[in-house]
Symmetry: C2
Subunit: 186 residues, 2 copies
């Protein structure tokens, strides 16, 4: 079941460095891309940074709409995640190509991807120099949700291997998120 995540806990969906799907929409156009390069940059209000290539269709939609969503996919979506990372939305309907279904977000028009572990709806904080020089976009997270089978009360619980999040290396190789280890401070 999808449950809301308090905004001051939203960074925890992204803190462990998973690969994400960035979804976007403008007018009748929409797209979804895979991104290895995203991270939280602030707790509250939560902000994220993500690299979006200048040549990508997503870039065009994000610049036009000032919004994007970060979706955190699971291991059972791995083939579709790779497809979303290889094809371009300029010449392919990425939703048909990947099989991803979407649902409406609470605060933004970008579609959210069904079957993911978590979702962050973001409004772009415009930073023209970062966007031009580094393809780096900064967003404020204005709504967050998670699948309560894997994230509840601000904590991940990835006991089902199919619902583990993923970390991307290169050349079609991913790592699944592994065992949780809690260390007591001295």
């Amino acid at each position: 079941m999808r449950i809301p995540v308090a905004l001051d806990k939203a960074y925890r969906l992204l803190n462990h460095g998973p690969v994400v799907l960035v979804s976007s929409a403008h007018g009748d156009a929409r797209n979804v891309m895979a991104a290895a390069w995203s991270m939280p940059i602030d707790f509250s209000p939560p902000k994220v940074a993500v690299v979006v290539d200048a040549r990508s269709f997503s870039r065009q939609l994000i610049e036009a709409s000032g919004e994007f969503a970060i979706n955190i996919p699971c291991r059972n979506q791995i083939e579709a995640v790779l497809k979303a990372g290889i094809a371009s939305g300029r010449d392919t309907d990425k939703f048909a190509h990947t099989g991803f279904k979407s649902f409406a977000g609470h605060r933004i028009a970008a579609p959210l991807i069904e079957g993911c572990a978590g979702w962050l709806e973001c409004r772009v904080i415009t930073e023209p120099h970062n966007e031009a020089a580094y393809d780096l976009f900064i967003g404020e997270v204005i709504s967050a949700q998670a699948d309560d089978r894997v994230f509840r009360d601000g904590r991940w619980n990835m006991t089902d291997d199919n619902l583990r999040t993923l970390h991307y290396l290169s050349g079609g190789t991913f790592f699944a998120t592994g065992d949780a280890i809690t260390v007591a401070p001295d």
Copy 2:
């Protein structure tokens, strides 16, 4: 054994989103901090982004020296990583506190941390607005090394559980990097 990593493959040390140790030095002072928020932002020349809190001692050393190193720790260093994330170098000798030993880098004065899986030596690309507004530092990677037990020919090989890299959640909880999964593109 520590081996050089070609600069155009250096991003792969960081691509899967591990927690890192940021080390820095200026004059006689040196420090090491844990950081969950770092990522590659370019392939070649390789660049990274990392969040360094304005109040931290590391921030002072990085601003003064224009350099930092990113060290990628292993599971068998987890207690020291947490210590490095909690204590402040302003009032603690973090090397004595954590037990981390260091060795000299090839290109920068910041100490590199022994026992890690990989090392990225970085020169700051000064971006005053990002640093002031977001605590966000951008660095160009000018030298990279890895432990060949876990990273060789541009690929991770984490078969020894003790040498798996780590991903940070919150409250002393980490995830180990899990199974590698390779998907063939269509």
